[in-house]
Amino acid sequence: MTEISAPTAVVAAEDAADGEAADWGPLSSLPGNPMMWILILGELAAFGAMFIAFAVTRALDPATFDASQAQLDRLLGGVNTMVLVTSGWLVAVAVRRRALGRSHRVAMLGAMALGGVFLAIKAVEYGDKIGRDLTLETNSFFQLYYLLTGFHAMHVAAGIVILGIVTWWDSLENLETGAAFWHMVDLIWVLLYPIVYLLR
Protein backbone atom coordinates (compact mmCIF):
# COMPACT_ATOMS: atom_id res chain seq x y z
CA MET A 1 0.00 0.00 0.00
CA THR A 2 2.76 2.44 0.95
CA GLU A 3 4.57 2.08 -2.37
CA ILE A 4 1.35 2.78 -4.27
CA SER A 5 0.25 5.80 -2.31
CA ALA A 6 3.66 7.46 -1.97
CA PRO A 7 3.77 9.08 -5.44
CA THR A 8 0.23 10.37 -4.99
CA ALA A 9 1.13 11.90 -1.65
CA VAL A 10 4.23 13.61 -3.03
CA VAL A 11 2.39 14.95 -6.07
CA ALA A 12 -0.44 16.22 -3.87
CA ALA A 13 2.09 17.93 -1.64
CA GLU A 14 3.81 19.54 -4.63
CA ASP A 15 0.44 20.68 -6.03
CA ALA A 16 -0.50 22.17 -2.67
CA ALA A 17 2.85 23.94 -2.54
CA ASP A 18 2.26 25.39 -5.99
CA GLY A 19 -1.15 26.60 -4.82
CA GLU A 20 -2.54 26.45 -8.34
CA ALA A 21 -4.24 23.09 -8.77
CA ALA A 22 -6.09 23.39 -12.10
CA ASP A 23 -9.57 21.93 -12.40
CA TRP A 24 -9.51 19.41 -15.24
CA GLY A 25 -13.01 18.09 -14.50
CA PRO A 26 -13.24 14.31 -14.92
CA LEU A 27 -9.58 14.22 -16.02
CA SER A 28 -8.49 15.41 -12.55
CA SER A 29 -8.69 11.90 -11.10
CA LEU A 30 -6.15 10.57 -13.62
CA PRO A 31 -2.55 10.29 -12.36
CA GLY A 32 0.06 12.68 -13.81
CA ASN A 33 -0.57 15.47 -16.29
CA PRO A 34 -4.12 15.37 -17.79
CA MET A 35 -2.77 16.64 -21.14
CA MET A 36 -0.77 13.43 -21.43
CA TRP A 37 -3.96 11.40 -20.95
CA ILE A 38 -5.66 13.36 -23.73
CA LEU A 39 -2.68 12.43 -25.93
CA ILE A 40 -2.90 8.78 -24.80
CA LEU A 41 -6.62 8.63 -25.66
CA GLY A 42 -5.98 10.24 -29.04
CA GLU A 43 -3.10 7.88 -29.87
CA LEU A 44 -5.09 4.81 -28.79
CA ALA A 45 -8.00 5.90 -30.99
CA ALA A 46 -5.70 6.60 -33.98
CA PHE A 47 -3.75 3.34 -33.70
CA GLY A 48 -6.95 1.39 -32.91
CA ALA A 49 -8.49 2.66 -36.17
CA MET A 50 -5.31 1.73 -38.06
CA PHE A 51 -5.34 -1.79 -36.54
CA ILE A 52 -8.96 -2.28 -37.66
CA ALA A 53 -8.07 -0.95 -41.13
CA PHE A 54 -5.14 -3.39 -41.29
CA ALA A 55 -7.40 -6.34 -40.37
CA VAL A 56 -10.11 -5.34 -42.87
CA THR A 57 -7.52 -4.86 -45.66
CA ARG A 58 -6.22 -8.35 -44.91
CA ALA A 59 -9.76 -9.75 -45.14
CA LEU A 60 -9.87 -8.41 -48.71
CA ASP A 61 -6.63 -10.15 -49.74
CA PRO A 62 -5.62 -12.78 -47.16
CA ALA A 63 -3.28 -14.72 -49.47
CA THR A 64 -1.06 -11.67 -50.17
CA PHE A 65 -1.10 -10.61 -46.53
CA ASP A 66 -0.21 -14.07 -45.18
CA ALA A 67 2.58 -14.59 -47.75
CA SER A 68 3.98 -11.11 -47.01
CA GLN A 69 3.72 -11.56 -43.25
CA ALA A 70 5.75 -14.78 -43.57
CA GLN A 71 8.64 -12.56 -44.78
CA LEU A 72 8.77 -10.81 -41.39
CA ASP A 73 11.02 -12.03 -38.60
CA ARG A 74 8.54 -12.98 -35.86
CA LEU A 75 11.32 -13.83 -33.41
CA LEU A 76 12.97 -10.42 -33.84
CA GLY A 77 9.59 -8.73 -33.38
CA GLY A 78 9.06 -10.71 -30.17
CA VAL A 79 12.54 -9.86 -28.90
CA ASN A 80 11.80 -6.18 -29.58
CA THR A 81 8.57 -6.51 -27.56
CA MET A 82 10.60 -7.84 -24.62
CA VAL A 83 13.13 -5.02 -25.03
CA LEU A 84 10.40 -2.35 -24.92
CA VAL A 85 8.53 -4.02 -22.04
CA THR A 86 11.77 -4.13 -20.03
CA SER A 87 12.42 -0.48 -20.83
CA GLY A 88 8.90 0.37 -19.59
CA TRP A 89 9.58 -1.51 -16.36
CA LEU A 90 12.79 0.50 -15.80
CA VAL A 91 10.90 3.78 -16.33
CA ALA A 92 8.18 2.70 -13.88
CA VAL A 93 10.88 1.78 -11.33
CA ALA A 94 12.60 5.15 -11.89
CA VAL A 95 9.38 7.07 -11.18
CA ARG A 96 8.75 5.03 -8.04
CA ARG A 97 12.33 5.58 -6.83
CA ARG A 98 12.03 9.34 -7.50
CA ALA A 99 8.79 9.44 -5.48
CA LEU A 100 10.62 7.75 -2.61
CA GLY A 101 13.49 10.24 -2.86
CA ARG A 102 15.96 7.64 -4.15
CA SER A 103 18.33 7.75 -7.12
CA HIS A 104 16.53 7.14 -10.40
CA ARG A 105 18.96 8.17 -13.15
CA VAL A 106 20.52 4.74 -13.73
CA ALA A 107 17.07 3.24 -14.37
CA MET A 108 16.18 6.10 -16.73
CA LEU A 109 19.45 5.77 -18.65
CA GLY A 110 18.89 2.02 -18.90
CA ALA A 111 15.39 2.62 -20.26
CA MET A 112 16.70 5.06 -22.87
CA ALA A 113 19.46 2.62 -23.87
CA LEU A 114 16.85 -0.11 -24.39
CA GLY A 115 14.81 2.33 -26.48
CA GLY A 116 17.94 2.69 -28.63
CA VAL A 117 18.23 -1.12 -28.85
CA PHE A 118 14.60 -1.26 -30.04
CA LEU A 119 15.34 1.24 -32.83
CA ALA A 120 18.55 -0.59 -33.78
CA ILE A 121 16.66 -3.90 -34.12
CA LYS A 122 14.00 -2.08 -36.15
CA ALA A 123 16.73 -0.69 -38.44
CA VAL A 124 18.11 -4.22 -38.93
CA GLU A 125 14.61 -5.39 -39.86
CA TYR A 126 14.07 -2.54 -42.33
CA GLY A 127 17.52 -3.14 -43.84
CA ASP A 128 16.72 -6.81 -44.37
CA LYS A 129 13.35 -6.06 -45.99
CA ILE A 130 14.68 -3.31 -48.26
CA GLY A 131 17.63 -5.56 -49.21
CA ARG A 132 15.07 -8.11 -50.46
CA ASP A 133 13.12 -5.44 -52.38
CA LEU A 134 10.22 -5.55 -49.91
CA THR A 135 9.39 -1.85 -49.89
CA LEU A 136 6.41 0.49 -49.58
CA GLU A 137 5.64 -0.21 -53.23
CA THR A 138 5.60 -4.02 -52.93
CA ASN A 139 1.95 -4.42 -51.89
CA SER A 140 -0.67 -3.17 -49.43
CA PHE A 141 0.71 -5.34 -46.60
CA PHE A 142 4.13 -3.72 -46.76
CA GLN A 143 2.59 -0.25 -47.15
CA LEU A 144 0.74 -0.79 -43.86
CA TYR A 145 3.75 -2.53 -42.26
CA TYR A 146 6.03 0.47 -42.91
CA LEU A 147 3.28 2.97 -42.04
CA LEU A 148 2.41 1.36 -38.69
CA THR A 149 5.90 0.35 -37.54
CA GLY A 150 7.47 3.56 -38.90
CA PHE A 151 4.91 5.77 -37.15
CA HIS A 152 5.51 3.82 -33.94
CA ALA A 153 9.32 4.04 -34.33
CA MET A 154 8.98 7.84 -34.62
CA HIS A 155 7.15 7.77 -31.27
CA VAL A 156 10.00 5.69 -29.78
CA ALA A 157 12.59 8.21 -31.03
CA ALA A 158 10.53 11.11 -29.62
CA GLY A 159 10.09 9.15 -26.37
CA ILE A 160 13.84 8.73 -25.92
CA VAL A 161 14.27 12.51 -26.27
CA ILE A 162 11.43 13.12 -23.78
CA LEU A 163 12.95 10.64 -21.29
CA GLY A 164 16.28 12.48 -21.63
CA ILE A 165 14.61 15.83 -20.92
CA VAL A 166 12.74 14.60 -17.82
CA THR A 167 15.86 12.81 -16.54
CA TRP A 168 17.61 16.18 -16.56
CA TRP A 169 14.67 18.31 -15.30
CA ASP A 170 13.52 15.62 -12.90
CA SER A 171 10.60 16.97 -10.85
CA LEU A 172 8.20 14.13 -10.04
CA GLU A 173 5.53 15.60 -12.31
CA ASN A 174 7.97 15.87 -15.23
CA LEU A 175 9.13 12.31 -14.66
CA GLU A 176 5.55 10.99 -14.43
CA THR A 177 4.55 12.83 -17.60
CA GLY A 178 7.57 11.57 -19.57
CA ALA A 179 6.99 8.06 -18.22
CA ALA A 180 3.33 8.19 -19.28
CA PHE A 181 4.40 8.95 -22.87
CA TRP A 182 6.87 6.04 -22.80
CA HIS A 183 4.27 3.61 -21.41
CA MET A 184 1.85 4.71 -24.14
CA VAL A 185 4.51 3.84 -26.75
CA ASP A 186 4.99 0.48 -24.99
CA LEU A 187 1.21 -0.11 -24.87
CA ILE A 188 0.79 0.54 -28.60
CA TRP A 189 3.63 -1.86 -29.49
CA VAL A 190 2.18 -4.74 -27.42
CA LEU A 191 -0.96 -4.40 -29.59
CA LEU A 192 0.87 -3.73 -32.86
CA TYR A 193 3.28 -6.70 -32.66
CA PRO A 194 0.65 -9.49 -32.64
CA ILE A 195 -1.52 -7.77 -35.28
CA VAL A 196 1.25 -7.14 -37.81
CA TYR A 197 3.58 -10.09 -37.08
CA LEU A 198 1.46 -12.94 -35.73
CA LEU A 199 -2.26 -12.91 -36.57
CA ARG A 200 -3.29 -14.76 -39.74
Binding site: I4, P7, A55, L60, W89, P194, I195, R200
Partner: protein, 91 residues
Protein backbone atom coordinates in the same frame (compact mmCIF):
# COMPACT_ATOMS: atom_id res chain seq x y z
CA UNK B 1 8.41 -1.95 -6.34
CA UNK B 2 7.30 -5.60 -6.19
CA UNK B 3 4.11 -5.03 -8.17
CA UNK B 4 6.12 -3.39 -10.98
CA UNK B 5 8.46 -6.37 -11.19
CA UNK B 6 5.57 -8.86 -11.05
CA UNK B 7 3.91 -6.94 -13.88
CA UNK B 8 7.15 -7.06 -15.92
CA UNK B 9 7.43 -10.84 -15.40
CA UNK B 10 3.81 -11.25 -16.50
CA UNK B 11 4.37 -9.11 -19.61
CA UNK B 12 7.45 -11.16 -20.56
CA UNK B 13 5.61 -14.46 -20.06
CA UNK B 14 2.60 -13.30 -22.10
CA UNK B 15 4.95 -12.15 -24.88
CA UNK B 16 6.53 -15.61 -24.91
CA UNK B 17 3.04 -17.19 -25.05
CA UNK B 18 2.13 -14.94 -28.03
CA UNK B 19 5.37 -15.88 -29.84
CA UNK B 20 4.70 -19.57 -29.25
CA UNK B 21 1.04 -19.35 -30.34
CA UNK B 22 1.90 -17.31 -33.44
CA UNK B 23 4.89 -19.25 -34.73
CA UNK B 24 4.87 -21.56 -37.75
CA UNK B 25 2.96 -21.31 -41.01
CA UNK B 26 -0.72 -21.45 -41.94
CA UNK B 27 -3.66 -19.73 -40.31
CA UNK B 28 -3.85 -19.77 -36.53
CA UNK B 29 -7.52 -20.71 -36.29
CA UNK B 30 -9.98 -19.21 -33.79
CA UNK B 31 -8.16 -20.66 -30.77
CA UNK B 32 -4.77 -19.29 -31.83
CA UNK B 33 -6.19 -15.89 -32.81
CA UNK B 34 -8.08 -15.74 -29.51
CA UNK B 35 -5.00 -16.67 -27.48
CA UNK B 36 -2.75 -14.09 -29.18
CA UNK B 37 -5.36 -11.33 -28.86
CA UNK B 38 -6.19 -12.21 -25.25
CA UNK B 39 -2.49 -12.07 -24.33
CA UNK B 40 -2.14 -8.66 -26.04
CA UNK B 41 -5.26 -7.28 -24.34
CA UNK B 42 -4.16 -8.44 -20.88
CA UNK B 43 -0.67 -6.96 -21.47
CA UNK B 44 -2.15 -3.59 -22.48
CA UNK B 45 -4.43 -3.64 -19.44
CA UNK B 46 -1.52 -4.40 -17.08
CA UNK B 47 0.54 -1.54 -18.56
CA UNK B 48 -2.38 0.86 -18.09
CA UNK B 49 -3.13 -0.33 -14.56
CA UNK B 50 0.35 -0.63 -13.04
CA UNK B 51 2.77 1.39 -15.21
CA UNK B 52 0.41 4.24 -16.14
CA UNK B 53 -1.03 3.99 -12.59
CA UNK B 54 -4.64 3.88 -13.76
CA UNK B 55 -5.47 2.07 -10.52
CA UNK B 56 -5.23 5.52 -8.88
CA UNK B 57 -7.97 6.96 -11.12
CA UNK B 58 -11.77 6.82 -10.73
CA UNK B 59 -13.34 3.44 -11.43
CA UNK B 60 -15.08 4.95 -14.46
CA UNK B 61 -11.75 5.60 -16.19
CA UNK B 62 -10.54 2.06 -15.49
CA UNK B 63 -13.80 0.62 -16.83
CA UNK B 64 -13.64 2.94 -19.86
CA UNK B 65 -10.09 1.98 -20.87
CA UNK B 66 -10.78 -1.70 -20.18
CA UNK B 67 -13.92 -1.53 -22.35
CA UNK B 68 -11.99 0.20 -25.15
CA UNK B 69 -9.31 -2.51 -25.15
CA UNK B 70 -11.89 -5.31 -24.97
CA UNK B 71 -13.89 -3.78 -27.82
CA UNK B 72 -10.76 -3.55 -29.98
CA UNK B 73 -9.81 -7.16 -29.16
CA UNK B 74 -13.31 -8.49 -29.91
CA UNK B 75 -13.52 -6.51 -33.18
CA UNK B 76 -10.14 -7.84 -34.32
CA UNK B 77 -11.10 -11.39 -33.30
CA UNK B 78 -14.32 -11.13 -35.33
CA UNK B 79 -12.51 -9.77 -38.41
CA UNK B 80 -9.78 -12.45 -38.30
CA UNK B 81 -12.17 -15.34 -37.70
CA UNK B 82 -14.89 -14.20 -40.13
CA UNK B 83 -12.51 -12.84 -42.80
CA UNK B 84 -13.87 -14.96 -45.70
CA UNK B 85 -17.36 -13.53 -45.17
CA UNK B 86 -16.11 -9.99 -44.56
CA UNK B 87 -13.88 -10.12 -47.64
CA UNK B 88 -16.73 -11.43 -49.79
CA UNK B 89 -19.12 -8.78 -48.50
CA UNK B 90 -16.68 -5.92 -49.16
CA UNK B 91 -15.47 -7.04 -52.60
Amino acid sequence: MAILTRTWVMLMLLTAVSMWAGHGTGTLGPLGVGLVLAAATVKADRILTHYLDLHRADGGWRAGFRSLLTLLGVALFGIYVLYPMIGAALR
